[in-house]
């Protein structure tokens, strides 16, 4: 499958470019022209307390969401004509369980999660599925986040790339509107202590 990669965190993008060819996919650059599938994220949004998040950071958050939304709209539009396709929205774990300092990625991820679900409802009759990949906390996020993750470490790019390859594979043909959390169990835990994202440098 020809896969467009849109505004993914650098580590994940590198991981995907390594892993997708082995799984029979061909990753493309920016833009959705010619793509059969799209993996869209919001880059790496910064950490700040919600009451302190500045106008510029808020605008950046909205712009990142907007960019992912229209990449998905364009891919959907193309694939509804061609028939069949895959949308994967990559979100941060904060969109499922919030943490202090994580408002931007929580808001952006929550937004795209619902976009994925509505797209899944509307596009599936034409063979286009849409799903959410919750990309576990990974570098360059603070290593201290591992304290709140049962698996005890941050995610490696390969962990996330493998899950993404699955969502793009024929095996996932009936997976639609799903949320695949590759987060080491972050969502189901409550770590003691302060949020590493709230820590001041």
């Amino acid at each position: 499958m020809l896969v467009a990669l849109h505004n993914l965190p650098a580590g994940l993008e590198r991981g995907l470019r390594e892993a997708l060819p082995a799984a029979g996919h061909e990753p493309l650059g920016e833009g959705t022209a010619g793509a059969e599938a799209l993996v869209a994220g919001v880059g790496e949004l910064g950490a700040a307390a919600a009451v302190e998040l500045g106008a510029e950071a808020w605008a950046e958050t909205v712009a990142a969401v907007r960019s992912a939304f229209f990449a998905a709209r364009d891919l959907a539009s193309q694939r509804l004509e061609a028939g069949g396709g895959r949308l994967v929205f990559v979100v941060d774990p904060s969109s499922q369980r919030v943490l202090e300092g994580g408002v931007a990625s929580a808001v952006a991820g929550a937004f795209l999660s619902t976009v994925a679900e509505v797209a899944a409802v509307e596009l599936a009759p034409q063979g286009v599925t849409a799903n959410v990949l919750v990309a576990g906390w990974s570098a360059p996020r603070p290593a201290a986040l591992a304290a709140g993750i049962p698996v005890g470490r941050l995610a490696a790019p390969a962990d996330l790339a493998a899950a993404c390859a699955f969502l793009l594979s024929p095996s996932a043909a009936y997976v639609n509107g799903a949320t695949l959390a590759v987060d080491g169990g972050y969502r189901i835990t409550k770590a003691a202590g302060a949020s590493p994202l709230a820590a001041r440098p």
């Binding site: 939304f69 539009s77 808001v107 952006a108």
Partner: protein
Amino acid sequence: MARVALVTGAARERGIGRGIARRLAADGYALAINDVAAAAEGEALRSELEAAGVRAGFYSADVADRAAVEAMFDAVERELGPVVAVCSNAGVGAWSPFAKTPEELFDRVVAVNLSGAFNVGQVGAQRMLARGEGGRIVFVSSVHVEMPFAEMAVYGATKQAIRALTETLAIELGGAGITVNQVGPGWVKSKLNDASPSLRTVADERATMAKIPLGRPAEPAEIGAAVSYLCSADAAYVNGAFLRVDGGFVVGKY
């Protein structure tokens, strides 16, 4: 002097915001009524509340405009007093097939529903923090937080984003005695829903209402009652919650 509540998007007749404003006024709050337009309706509501002995003011401001929101809080504080309860309700609805979503639709809905909620919630929170006396923030989100609806990707996404904003503010502000919660209306007899494709004909409306276990839409006053509770002393320990007021719609009837 009465404590002050601010409700955004509160002027329109048959709007959820008006139902919230009336109820908070009945609870004893002085009322700051905000809306971006509908000045005549806003002034009419102000007169109605004042006739009932409630101190009230109408404040025209676009919640998507940060400077306008700051100026509105300044004016409310000057004229009515510090705002101890903020209800971010202003919102617009829009329908489009996902694959054909116009950029204009995205920008308009996100500006009001999401950036508006962020502006009102953040400015309200900053001022509550500065005073150090706690407070209440209630966002009006939607059942869209719990289930997707076709042709409403942008609207639903803004409501889900408000869920994340509510939860993050709740954990960040709890230590300052500020609770942050969201109310999730389902079908409401409101102007926003008049444009819904699901209510286009009498048959459409009947089919839509048949999906609601209670068999009817909510009155704006019923959403007001939920906001009233979340602002009350009874709800002092309710924080980061989603209070769904939908007649059981999301729980589901096939």
